[in-house]
């Protein structure tokens, strides 16, 4: 049994690595289709269409843009694996340090939002399934259809207007109250730092600023969980073990929320990775609205500055984190549900 799961995990890891390398190759080929000549490519890399020739020449030498395509691809992959993502022409620092600064902030937003979305989705899906074709079911369906169909910026704007501007309950922008001094950097994550340092006012301010973006992100993405939970629970309600639990004399509530929901939530593990991807994409817009300085803010600034290296690297980093999330979900699924391993 343990050898079995070992092979399963190794196969999934190899798959993830192949996907990652292909993603790099695809991104690479796409830029080369857009900018077929070394000079055009250098102009894009310089983030300046009117860069002087000497600067372009230097960029061509630095990135080896005049070498054959396959050499460039291999060099690029080696560079990426070494953590060398290029030099940002706008900020004048290595790209990796910028991403190291912005990525943790986005993760602090996206991970709680994904968890919250799963919790809301599971609960509302269970309620909908247990009240099938009753008013409560239709109500849940109405709510998730509307949040699902609404663009992320609409949800964020509506929450911003209501909670921040009308009720003055929550701050409208920023990551933290700028007048507070930050705790020392033990980890890249400000929340963990403040917990380790025991700086609870800083922690409270971080959480206070986090509520609205996290809420908007999870509202945008929970619909898909609700829908699948409902469908999956309806399937499981007809199974023998659900009937058996009822016949044993367990209350209907115990059967639905204990037995059926637990079984029906297993297939949702693979959904978490998808949800994570949704949240990352949503975070781009939502960070822009709340001026939350994470990857989304970084990428919006890069779009504005035509800073292409930053966009490419952000794309890559987001791709890597989603592939990693998928891998973890796959392995978890295999551990929880042995039938998957047999494929």
């Amino acid at each position: 049994m343990s050898a079995n799961i070992g092979i399963f995990i190794i196969r999934r890891i190899i798959n993830a690595i192949i996907t990652l390398i292909l993603l790099i190759v695809i991104l690479f080929i796409l830029i080369h289709i857009i900018a077929p000549s070394p000079l055009a490519l250098a102009r894009i890399y310089a983030a300046n269409p009117h860069a002087p020739y000497s600067e372009l020449d230097q960029i061509i030498k630095e990135y080896g843009l005049n070498k054959p395509l396959y050499v460039q691809i291999i060099n690029y992959i080696i560079n990426v694996l070494h953590g060398n993502l290029g030099f940002d022409p706008i900020y004048k620092v290595p790209e990796i340090s910028l991403i190291g600064q912005y990525l943790p902030i986005t993760l602090e937003l996206v991970i709680p939002a994904t968890i919250l979305a799963v919790v809301i989705g599971l609960l509302s899906g269970a309620v909908a399934a247990s009240n099938r074709n009753k008013p409560l079911d239709y109500f849940v369906k109405g709510v998730y259809l509307v949040t699902w169909a609404s663009p992320p910026f609409l949800v964020a704007t509506a929450l911003l207007i209501f909670f921040a501007f009308d009720l003055h309950l929550l701050p409208s922008n920023g990551v933290v109250n700028p007048t507070l001094t930050a705790p020392p950097k033990y980890t890249p994550f400000p929340v963990l730092n403040s917990i380790v340092a025991g700086d609870w006012t800083y922690f409270a301010s971080l959480v206070h600023h986090m509520v609205l973006p996290v809420l908007s992100l999870s509202l945008v993405s929970f619909g898909i969980v609700t829908r699948l939970t409902r469908a999956s629970m309806l399937d499981y309600m007809d199974t023998d073990f659900a009937r058996l639990s009822l016949m044993k004399g367990l209350s209907r509530r115990r059967v639905i929320y204990g037995v059926v929901l637990r079984n029906a939530s297993i297939p949702l593990i693979t959904l978490i990775a998808l949800l994570f991807g949704y949240s990352v994409a949503g975070a781009v817009v939502i960070e822009d609205i709340y001026h939350y300085f994470g990857m989304g803010y970084f990428i919006t600034q890069a779009i504005f500055n035509l800073d292409y290296i930053a966009i490419l690297d952000t794309t890559l980093i987001i791709g890597i984190s989603i592939i990693a999330a998928n891998l973890i979900a796959d392995i978890l699924y295999g551990v929880v549900d042995p039938r998957v391993r047999l494929e």
Binding site: L27, I34, S150, P151, V284, T300, I303, I318
Partner: protein
């Protein structure tokens, strides 16, 4: 012949007429059909007028049906709240928001149709080849599909459109490049299911050409669940397109675009709530229309509702 087979024979379960009849039996789906129908009819009429206006160099043709000229700057009317003259208020430059929204809609309709149909075509070719040939072709094509699917469409379009100057054509091209992988997955799964059926063997024996076999026999027989997904997907395209516009990618000013209007509106909060909210609400209503239809179609094709 059993009774059930007889029923299946008399009631068609395919074809446009069947879908329309099945859709019109559900009040929610009728609402969806009305929204989507109005959206596309408006898209065609206003789109033709806008093209004519540009072609004949008569700008007034472009806003002949609109309550106001969407490009009429007048600072006097800057940021007016909704009133009987300006139904949805005005923006910073004093332009009527309703007129600008109506002016922007044909482009959204065009983008959604173009992207979904190109995705069906590209995804169909790739998925059917992968499923039909199998072996190495399947492995290679599906790994590429996975690589595309590992990124949210929004991020990938940004990576493609920005070096192309982030204009409308670049955004459309980016969406087309990015949108097919889900369809490739669907078509591959359907092809694998259909490939081993008897009528494919019969077609092979009767010496049907390769193209006809793949198109007439496999593509046309696997399209049903894909139509249901595509109906939903029009909405997804509009959502992604307007989100891109919100980030400043897509049609550039002075031409109005729903996402870009919402973005400008957010900058004017908290004074002008109408400017930030109404463009988003318009997108919401359109997408809800598509979702209602898609949801219903999926129920019909999934066999959860029978007639």
């Amino acid at each position: 012949m059993t009774e059930q087979e007889e029923v299946e024979k008399t009631v068609p379960t395919q074809g446009i007429r069947f879908y329309i009849r099945a859709l019109t039996k559900d009040p929610l789906a009728i609402v969806g059909l009305i929204i989507v129908g109005l959206f596309f009819i408006w898209g065609v009429i206003q789109g033709i007028l806008e093209i004519l206006a540009g072609y004949l160099r008569k700008p007034y043709l472009g806003y002949i049906l609109l309550p106001h000229d969407p490009f009429a700057l007048d600072i006097k009317y800057s940021l007016m709240p909704p009133s009987s003259e300006f139904l949805l208020g005005t923006n910073t430059a004093g332009e009527d928001i309703l007129s600008r929204m109506l002016y922007a809609m044909p482009r959204d309709a065009f983008v959604s149709v173009a992207v979904v149909f190109s995705a069906i075509a590209i995804g169909g070719i790739i998925g059917i080849i992968a499923g039909y040939i199998g072996k190495w072709a399947d492995e290679v094509l599906m790994r590429v599909t996975d690589a595309f699917l590992s990124l949210p469409a929004l991020i990938l379009v940004i990576a493609i459109a920005v070096p192309l100057k982030a204009g409308f054509d670049a955004t459309l091209a980016g969406l087309m490049v990015v949108w097919w992988p889900t369809y490739a997955r669907f078509f591959r799964a359907q092809t694998l299911k259909i490939k081993s059926m008897d009528f494919i063997d019969a077609a092979k024996l009767s010496n049907v050409s390769r193209f006809k076999l793949l198109f007439r026999y496999i593509f046309m027989n696997s399209i049903d669940p894909i139509i249901a997904y595509a109906a939903l997907d029009f909405g997804n395209v509009i959502l992604t397109y307007s989100t891109l516009a919100f980030l400043g990618i897509g049609i550039q000013p002075p031409y109005p675009e729903l996402g870009a209007m919402a973005s400008n509106g957010v900058d004017n909060l908290p004074t002008a709530w109408w400017y930030a909210l109404f463009p988003g609400v318009a997108i919401l209503i359109i997408v809800v229309g598509f979702v209602l239809i898609g949801d219903r179609l999926q129920d019909i094709i999934g066999g959860r509702i029978t007639y």
